[in-house]
Structure formats: structure tokens, C-alpha cells
Assembly symmetry: C2
Homo-oligomer: 178 residues x 2
DNA sequence: GTCTATATAATGATAGAC
DNA sequence: GTCTATCATTATATAGAC
């Protein structure tokens, strides 16, 4: 799926990779759609576990940012999003997972923001979380393709913002400058 | 392509939509790959025109933000990005287009930032442009699927930032608070 | 330009032997 | 569980009549 796309994920190719005949796919799964849904669920579980681990770290926002930087994961996400636009079962699960993912660790982030960030209505934890996920996501998707323009500058800006919101232990510079 | 995905864009379906036989596709195009590339180029041209128009408006950043908010366009972008991950010709054109798009109006944005924004190294025009494109892009992709959590909060945060960077004519509040 | 006809290959899925 | 055999469908693409 990563290197050939969801359209190339056929029963024959799946079976070939595990050294079996293609008809066996229909022994283990009722249909290709069911196989696809099973694979999708396994992945959302893995992503959720990684995000929960990030939230539990000393610097949740920084960890959340790092967790989404992988280009390979981003390419897979693009594939599943394209799939979700035309497969109703995948779409429904994507919505459910997306909403859940964004609410994960919201209270923890809100608590941290209350401690260190300036009081501004616009600095909503929901918005901060989404900004981090959005920017790191696009960064990964573009990196997977080979686009790099503005990436270093973007990382610098995000790092600056993260340092403002959650100063690292050894860094006291700039806080409250925002 | 929008409602069935790139994999469902077959010669038969294309011909059917214009009321002709599927073999005629190979009269107008050498192959399906060529048709796909032609469609992609037509679209990048349209997107580029819209962005250039936004850059030329009185509030470039605001206009850039507005120009990327369409969920239908975002869904199409996802489709082409997935395609680019497995089609070398589309990938090469995507990289070229992406790099060009991000540099479009960079000097104009830099000039505006120099006039109104606080002097901070992190507020690089390249980064600002990418942040706007990233967040509005994800917002659109998610909206196309039906995800809405955090969107209102995200829009509020971006609007707050945009107002800081480029105050609208009738709004003097908050500037320099950043 | 548009058509019919056709070659070739791949797909999802089922039936039944072992 | 894994296999062989098979079906109906669809795909890209070409050749040639009109």
C-alpha cells in the first residue's frame, strides 16, 4: 500500500507477499473491503498508542510534534484519506478516529498551557493540538514526495512557538515574550 | 476523480461522461497516464492563478487563507498526492508545482510583514506562508470527510494571528500584543 | 473523428478436492 | 488450512472500417 497505493492492494499481491495462493485471502477475509478495514483498524490502534505515549511525556506538545514527523507514516495517511473519500466504511472509521485522536490528551495540554502560556483566548488547547498535527502532517506528506521549500523555516517557527508554550528544562529564554 | 478516486478514473468512465466510446480516449491521449498528467497540469494552473490573485489582494495572507478553504479542492489534492506517491510523472510535477506555489508572493508577504509585524526571526515569510497553507489544507481535507473537532478553535487562532500580522483596515485592536 | 472488433492481462470471488 | 480450477467482469491498448 505504501509503495503502490491502495488501488494496487489486490488479493493476489497480498497472498504473494506471504507466499500463499490468492484465493486464501477469501478464506481469512470475507472480502477485500474487510481486509482493508482490518488493516486500517490495526494502524489507527498503533497511531493512537504512539500519541498517548507522547501525551504522557514531560513535554506533551513537543512529543506530539515529534510523533507526527515520519514521512512514511504521512504517505500512508494520505493513502487512507484518499481511500476514505470513496469507501464509506473507511470514511466512518476515519471520522471516529480523527475526532478521538484530537481529543486525546486535551486536558493534559490545557493544564500545561495554563501553567506556562500567556493568557490569550486564542491559545485554545484544541487549536494548539490541531495546529501541531496539521503542520507536522503536511511537512511529512511533502517530505515523502520530495518537497522541501520552507520546511526548515517552518520547523524553526514551530520550535519557537513550542519553546514559548512549554519551555524546556534548560531554556528560560524568551518566555513571556509572546 | 472527486467522488470515486483516481483508481476509478478509467477510459470507459471518462468516455461515458462525454457520451462517447471508451476507445476514443486513446485517440485524444496516448495513454491513461497522459490523460492524468494533462488533467493534473490543468488543475495546477487553476490553483496557481487563484493564489496569484490572492497575493495581489490588499490582505495577501488573509486571501491566501480563504483561497485554500474549499473542502472539494482539498479532497482533490489528497487524491493527487496519493497518486503522486506512486506515479513518477505526477510526483515530479507535484514537487515542481509545490515548490513554485510556496515561493509565489513571498516577497510581497515579506514586505507586508516588515511593515506591520513585530521583529522576530521566527516570523519568517516562508514559514508563515507554509503554516497558512498547511492548516487550511488539513482543515479542508478533514471537513471533506466530516471531521470537525477543533476546527472552530483553529479558525479563531489563525484569525487572531492574521489580525496580528496584517490588521484589517477597521481593526486596530491587539496589534503589537503578540 | 467515431465507430466495431479484438488481443491480452488482471481483478474479485466461488466451488470443491485433499 | 491450503490447494486447483474456474467464472464473470473489467482494464489498457491496438487495428481497421466508415
Amino acid at each position: 500500500m505504501i509503495d503502490q497505493g491502495y488501488a494496487a492492494l489486490t488479493a493476489r499481491k497480498v497472498a504473494e507477499r506471504v507466499g500463499l495462493k490468492h484465493q486464501l485471502v477469501y478464506y481469512y477475509f470475507h472480502s477485500m473491503d474487510e481486509l482493508l478495514l482490518t488493516a486500517f483498524r490495526r494502524r489507527t490502534g498503533q497511531v493512537m498508542a504512539r500519541v498517548e505515549q507522547a501525551i504522557g511525556s514531560p513535554r506533551p506538545l513537543q512529543a506530539l510534534w515529534d510523533a507526527h514527523s515520519d514521512p512514511v507514516q504521512a504517505a500512508l495517511t494520505v493513502e487512507y484519506m484518499a481511500l476514505a473519500n470513496h469507501n464509506e466504511a473507511i470514511r466512518a472509521e476515519t471520522v471516529e478516529f480523527g475526532e478521538r485522536l484530537r481529543r486525546t490528551g486535551l486536558t493534559e495540554v490545557a493544564q500545561r498551557l495554563g501553567e506556562t502560556a500567556p493568557k490569550a483566548d486564542a491559545l485554545n488547547p484544541f487549536a494548539i493540538t490541531m495546529a501541531i498535527q496539521s503542520i507536522s502532517g503536511i511537512l511529512g506528506m511533502e517530505a515523502a514526495l520530495g518537497i522541501s521549500g520552507g520546511h526548515a523555516e517552518m520547523r524553526a517557527l514551530v520550535q519557537w512557538c513550542l519553546d514559548q508554550l512549554q519551555p524546556s528544562p534548560g531554556d528560560q529564554s524568551g518566555q513571556r515574550d509572546i
